[in-house]
Symmetry: C2
Subunit: 498 residues, 2 copies
Amino acid sequence: MEETIRKFKEHLAKMEAYSHAFGVLNYDSETVMPKGGSEHLGMTYAVLSEEMYKLTTSPDLKAWVKEILAHRDQVDYITRREAEELFEDMERMEKIPMAEYVEYQVVQNAASNAWHTAKVTNDFALFAPHLEKLVGYARKFAGYWNGEKAPYDVLLDTYEKGLTMATLDEFFALLRKELLPVVEAVVQKGPVVDDSFLRARFPLPKQRKLSDRLMAVLTIDRDHCNIGEVEHPFTTNFSKDDVRITTHYHERSFASSMYSVIHEGGHALYELNVGDDIKYSPLGGGASMSIHESQSRFYENIIGRSEAFLTYILPDIQKLGPKALKDVTPHDFYLAVNKSEPSLIRTEADELTYSFHVMIRYELEKQLIGGTLAVKDLPAAWNRLYKEYLGVDVPNDTQGVLQDSHWSGGSFGYFPSYALGSAYGAQMLKVMERDLPVWELVAKGDLKPIVAWLTERIYQYGRLLKPNELILKACEAPFDPRYYVDYLKDKYTRVYGL
Amino acid sequence: MEETIRKFKEHLAKMEAYSHAFGVLNYDSETVMPKGGSEHLGMTYAVLSEEMYKLTTSPDLKAWVKEILAHRDQVDYITRREAEELFEDMERMEKIPMAEYVEYQVVQNAASNAWHTAKVTNDFALFAPHLEKLVGYARKFAGYWNGEKAPYDVLLDTYEKGLTMATLDEFFALLRKELLPVVEAVVQKGPVVDDSFLRARFPLPKQRKLSDRLMAVLTIDRDHCNIGEVEHPFTTNFSKDDVRITTHYHERSFASSMYSVIHEGGHALYELNVGDDIKYSPLGGGASMSIHESQSRFYENIIGRSEAFLTYILPDIQKLGPKALKDVTPHDFYLAVNKSEPSLIRTEADELTYSFHVMIRYELEKQLIGGTLAVKDLPAAWNRLYKEYLGVDVPNDTQGVLQDSHWSGGSFGYFPSYALGSAYGAQMLKVMERDLPVWELVAKGDLKPIVAWLTERIYQYGRLLKPNELILKACEAPFDPRYYVDYLKDKYTRVYGL
């Protein structure tokens, strides 16, 4: 058994190396690679993904995993969980023929490039054939994994174990029922503050300094986390030793990068605080997309858009920023960054309307993967739903259906994580407020105890525990979306004096 | 035979993918990786280099290569040259035991990190144990490769086929004999221009714009070549599709980055203009370090420090730069960037004293690898030679023995390439001047015909031709260092009115 475990761990270390190389190649291509390099990168992906496929489906590995699982009570918990996770990955991978898996990596790479160009040139037609292929793969893979369930349910399950359309339909229905009246009341009421100072010219070098300041407040160790600059911000990590967040600076919208940094910083905090005992293990990363988003959106919105935090950080912003910010009060700043307005861009949306953006993508994915919506009809369907849910007219595909990168990476079923994660965060806050003087700490810019609380209940476990177990740890109860609804109703009633 | 070639090419494509991944991991670690990531990177290097070792020494590959070489007259020239190069790599690799090769990658990675820290903190002792290990590996590997020759001759041969200490001793003796009197005359004469404008504050964003302008003049396609920012500039390429140069900006020394960009741009032009038929082949890169340096130093010095080029580019610099540059004349600018002065830093040295910096490193490498100089005595030996050849006192190791990255990467025998390359460039110029109105073109900022001339005679061939064959193509004669000596004597006689 000892020998089996040794071989198993050695094999995992090898897989980890490939996944590290893949991760860096991908990060590089998103941040600095000259665009001419993409064809060559596709060739390299093909070779390495074939290797990765072989490693994941290796008969030796399967034998070791089976042996470990047959004696799961005799092995340490980490090894047991590694074997369990590997077994699932293996089963999933084995069901895809190798040639198709390799092809898929290449298609994904080409689609991602096409999407970048299509977004910049507002040319959905350029992206459509790639998206069609990706939808085809997603449906096919879902069929391989579980031919008896609806394909979209199969895909949802890959992002959040056990999640189904039935659950999400109910979740989103509750949000619609409870929040739509608030959205309407806010529109009725109209602006409560002149927020033009958010569009004052804020030179990029000063915004970069603001990012450094925000990272420090978030307690992020820069020796283990840097900031790249990209079109569409994301976070990636190769282990807790090396986490990379990214942002996008706009000279006339400093809050955009500010909240990107806090959001991605939330993802980073999760990865940076995984336990040392699993740092190079496949368990050494976030448990699920929803749990990840619960963290990024917790820091971004619950903390980052609170009056306490804004009162603390405003003097720093005023020191770095343009004159137009000089006379802004903390309360005005708070009202400005919480302005609610039905709008076009998900990542820029306020907390209240945010889940409607997610709902739209959820509806479209359901139909795309369900086979009831063709890719060519997607832009029209997108624009129709934006009109229906948010009352806005989409002027072009760049600000519409092409705005997000997710589909170009073949991620269908990811979007609901954003809304779920936001809801998890609101529920965690309740328990945290019982244990910690949250708002006093935030007002002092002292986030350490908050990060420590979350590390104890969530971060340290990486993927050792499953999402529902982490929710139980953090919330001391199963998930209940009422906390989120109450949080939003309460916040926007106060902001808008409803 | 057809089947053998197919399998051989497939294997090469696989090796190319690993080398691509390695290259990007390395570039990433030099440019953006947070420093906490280095331990994990070392682990990944270990796994991938084991894989690379296995691919290079694969018995199948050996059989295919042997079969191709046995029928070398029946295969196309590219395949034949690929097989020849592979055979050499394979023989070289096979002689190193796999465990040692893998260990060496890890040692190299650790040494590179230690050097970075040692340089910043001026702490040679921190780097010394790593350097000792690297010297040990270099001597050991040289022994594996050819136990009958002096180890340093074996290493020189890996950078430039056939190069020996005997040749270099003669080459450097000629330079010393002919150039030392010029150096002395220049010191006697003293400054011929007030060059304080070179130290005027030039904000980094404006310097970045100047880099963009220089890249355009160099005819470099930015879709295939970007600019990273690092401590010690270098160029890397993953294929002609994706070349990366790097630079270092100093606010009070804009010429430093300007000449880094032109130097690295010269390396990039070589790689970018390799023939399309070999772009993803192991032949699709520069033929040797010396030929590479002949290009980088040709653009940097022969073109970039010519009065014609400086007259052309000065208005652009004046537009971007500080007021202190407003009244500078092209001739003053020319005198300033060609100021000759015995100094401390190789990469900042003028053309005339440059080869003395190289000579010092050559002497030290000869002794280090020859076993007559211990690593602990290296700083003192370095300082002694700087006093002897250049008459300067080295104030600290950061500006002394720690200044270059080469030794930290295990490169012993590379430095002579810089002096050799400079000399090749001067000889090429003679033939180019016969074929093209070089200085008229440079005065118009039209480098296209120059790049085309070099592409025809050198770049297109990648590694298809060997260094000596390329010299024959470009110079229409074997290498002769007299051209270089004459070029320098003529130039500095004019600059200093000797």
